[in-house]
């Protein structure tokens, strides 16, 4: 096992496209690092550079204590799991697992031992004599994992290994991956565009956008303290609600005003976010997570710092355990380049239906016991301790430790 360090790594493709731009990242020994971002953000390229499948245009990659910039893939002592598994179609499962070991001239007994161990760990024992074509998607995925495990490499690299599986299998494979990592403790770099995978799997998550590192932190910190509008909008589903608002302070204390609403800002927030007080009287972008809303009835009275706002539910999505209430607020949607980019996480150019006109469509996630129906007026409460404030021009989170003094 080893740490992986990227020092100012660049990837410039022919034609001058910068796929990865000055990436600095330290992946600690035994850590599960997830690279996440919308398609085309350079996450796969970064992974392939670590693997040695792509040349490095600039900077330095260190695995363990070796600079590997000019080492061929086979000498980097890493194993990779591909999105389409890339099993050798003409070999049985057993031969697939043993191939890398045979090429490394390992004694036969040792190969057999490792293959059997891996097969047992992954529940592949009864499939050892089959060819990949006779396996289901999930089984193929496990063979691909097994091929990485038997090598006992310094690090695992995984390039969207679960995205070819159906939704249910993906959830169970996600759990298996978690267990596997706990058991083997091998440094893992995992690429995905799925922020749920990123949140659930990663010890730390690295958010990339257009080849630029946005933020590296634990999943909870990314969720609670996003560094900018992009990270705020990208992490979390449904994504964060944004609006232009004005920060004001009058006799009754500080408040944020938008679309006819007025939410008091607790003093503790100003303590947590140094520099926020300088924005008083100025326009900011306010962000509220859907999960920081609750139905006033279900919330059962006022907790401290929860403020009521009356809205009219346009659409409700009942998910069983909770309800997503979609409502419009009387303010133009935030058209910042960061929020637009964060919404575009799919492969296709998706534009939402212009149902809301020039109003912002917000989502609130409320308890399933709330019986809100479309078209009803409903009282929501907002947790004012978890308000997010962003600079209108830069899109940076105000008062975030990484942004102070920037």
């Amino acid at each position: 096992m080893a740490s992986i360090v990227l020092n100012g790594v660049d990837k410039i493709y022919a034609g001058g496209v910068k796929a990865v731009n000055g990436l600095n990242l330290e992946i600690r020994d035994g850590e599960f690092m997830v690279l996440v971002g919308p398609s085309g953000c350079g996450k796969s390229t970064a992974l392939r550079m670590i693997a040695g499948l792509e040349d490095i245009s600039g900077g330095e990659i260190v695995i363990g204590d070796r600079v590997v910039n000019h080492l061929p893939p086979k000498d980097r002592d890493i194993a990779m799991v591909f999105q389409n598994y890339a099993l050798y179609p003409h070999m049985t499962v057993e031969e697939n697992l043993a191939f890398g070991l045979k090429l490394r001239k390992m004694p036969k007994a040792e190969i057999a031992k490792r293959v059997n161990e891996a097969a047992k760990m992954l529940g592949l024992e009864q499939y050892l004599k089959r060819k990949p074509a006779a396996l289901s998607g999930g089984q193929r995925q496990r063979v691909a994992m097994g091929r990485a495990i038997v090598r006992e490499p310094q690090a695992f690299l995984m390039d969207e290994p679960l995205s070819n599986l159906d939704a249910k299998l993906r959830v169970s494979m996600r759990a298996s991956l978690n267990q596997l990592h706990e058991r083997l403790g091998v440094t893992t770099v995992y690429v995905t565009h799925d922020q749920v995978e990123a949140m659930t799997l990663g010890d730390r998550v690295c958010v990339l956008r257009d080849g630029l590192l946005q933020q590296v932190d634990t999943p909870q910190n990314l969720f609670d303290n996003p560094v900018n509008l992009f990270v705020a909008g990208f992490m979390g589903s449904p994504s964060m609600n944004f609006t232009y608002a004005e920060l004001v302070r009058d006799g009754s204390g500080a408040a944020v005003a938008f679309a006819g609403y007025r939410l008091p800002v607790p003093d503790s927030t100003f303590a947590e976010k140094p520099g926020l007080d300088r924005y008083i009287g100025k326009k900011i972008i306010l962000g509220i997570r859907p999960s920081d809303f609750e139905d006033a009835v279900a919330a059962n009275g006022n907790a401290a710092g929860w403020v009521r706002i009356p809205v009219r539910a346009n659409v409700t999505e009942e998910l069983g355990s909770e309800i997503n209430v979609l409502f419009t607020i009387d303010a133009p949607p935030v058209e910042h380049k960061d929020t637009v980019a964060a919404q575009n996480d799919g492969d296709e150019e998706e534009t939402t239906l212009p149902l809301s006109g020039d109003k912002s469509l917000w989502t609130a996630r409320v308890n399933a016991r709330s019986h809100v129906r479309p078209g009803q007026n409903v009282e929501l409460v907002v947790d004012t301790h978890n308000l997010h404030f962003f600079d209108v021009d830069s899109g940076l989170s105000i008062g975030h430790e990484a942004n102070v003094g920037r």
Partner: protein
């Protein structure tokens, strides 16, 4: 239901559709029957006669033609040549074509995240295909100039420059067949380079990347990954080339000294058939040879497909 189907089939729309499909099927079928099946059947018939090809009269002579054929040294010589061609020509062509297509597609390693061929591989692909575009007769004439036994031949001229005596490429009986085989390989390689290139590009690049991560060098990559995954394409190539080895008429006719010479050293069955029929006017005997050639080709095709049968590879 039945009624419904009937009325559907007899409706003008359906008639037109079936007519359309049938017309497509009929044209090639008729051509095939008239120009392939019928002559074959006729050959079997003529092989049993002493027909001269010019008079309408002939007698059935039973298997006399076949008896004569089995005693004919030239026939056996031609069969031996086919055997040799069959052993060497497909093997050499496939080996060379595989080598080139591997270099053109995978051999260059990585660039911009894709496995690529050696520098300029797109250009080479086109150049390699040139011989395939040339008519066999032109190839023959070209190589006559190249292989001339005196110093006016291109090769002998070059050899002379380094002090080697002229080689009788086509006039030396021990060498002539090998020379012609070389020309056949030269002409065939380009097509198989393109065929195998197509086969290689259908292998997902991740498989090569996975192998590279597993520690495979170029050598292992070729023998353990590329070759087994290309097996289906190889098999097709083998059958084509094998059947081509039973032909060779045009090239031998144009290129060899004295049409199959010197001293029948390069003769092949199609050439013998042609000579017996059109030079000696022995149509019955020529047809008997044709029947023999038919069975040789058939045996080869069936054997190859049997021997090389494997389960299909899915990606």
């Amino acid at each position: 239901m039945r009624h419904g189907k009937l009325s559907q089939a007899s409706s003008p729309m359906a008639l037109r559709r079936y007519g359309f499909i049938l017309s497509f099927l009929a044209a090639p079928l008729v051509l095939y029957v008239v120009f392939v099946i019928a002559p074959y059947i006729q050959a079997f018939q003529i092989a049993l006669t002493n027909w001269k090809g010019i008079s309408p009269d002939f007698d059935y002579v039973g298997l006399e033609n076949f008896g004569r054929m089995f005693d004919d040294d030239v026939f056996w010589q031609a069969v031996r040549h086919h055997g040799l061609l069959l052993l060497v020509m497909p093997l050499a062509t496939i080996a060379i074509a595989l080598f080139f297509s591997f270099l053109l597609n995978v051999g260059g390693g990585q660039a911009n995240g894709r496995r690529t061929g050696v520098r300029g591989s797109a250009f080479y692909k086109i150049v390699f295909f040139f011989p395939q575009v040339l008519a066999v007769a032109i190839v023959g004439v070209l190589f006559q100039a190249i292989l001339r036994p005196d110093k006016t031949g291109v090769i002998n001229n070059a050899l002379g420059a380094v002090g080697v005596d002229p080689v009788g490429w086509l006039i030396n009986p021990d060498l002539a067949l090998w020379t012609i085989m070389g020309v056949m390989v030269w002409q065939a390689v380009g097509f198989y380079v393109v065929l195998f290139s197509a086969g290689m590009s259908s292998i997902p690049s991740e498989v090569f990347e996975a192998a590279a991560l597993d520690g495979a060098g170029r050598f292992t990559l070729f023998f353990k990954i590329t070759l087994p995954l290309l097996w289906d394409t190889l098999q097709v190539g083998w059958v084509y080339l094998g059947i081509a080895a039973f032909d060779g008429f045009a090239l031998v006719q144009v290129l060899s000294v004295d049409r199959g010479g010197p001293d029948n050293a390069t003769t092949v069955l199609p050439l013998e058939i042609w000579r017996q029929a059109f030079t000696f006017s022995k149509y019955g005997y020529a047809s008997a040879m044709g029947v023999a050639l038919f069975f040789l080709t058939l045996t080869f095709a069936v054997l190859t497909l049997r021997v090389t049968r494997r389960e299909r590879i899915e990606f």
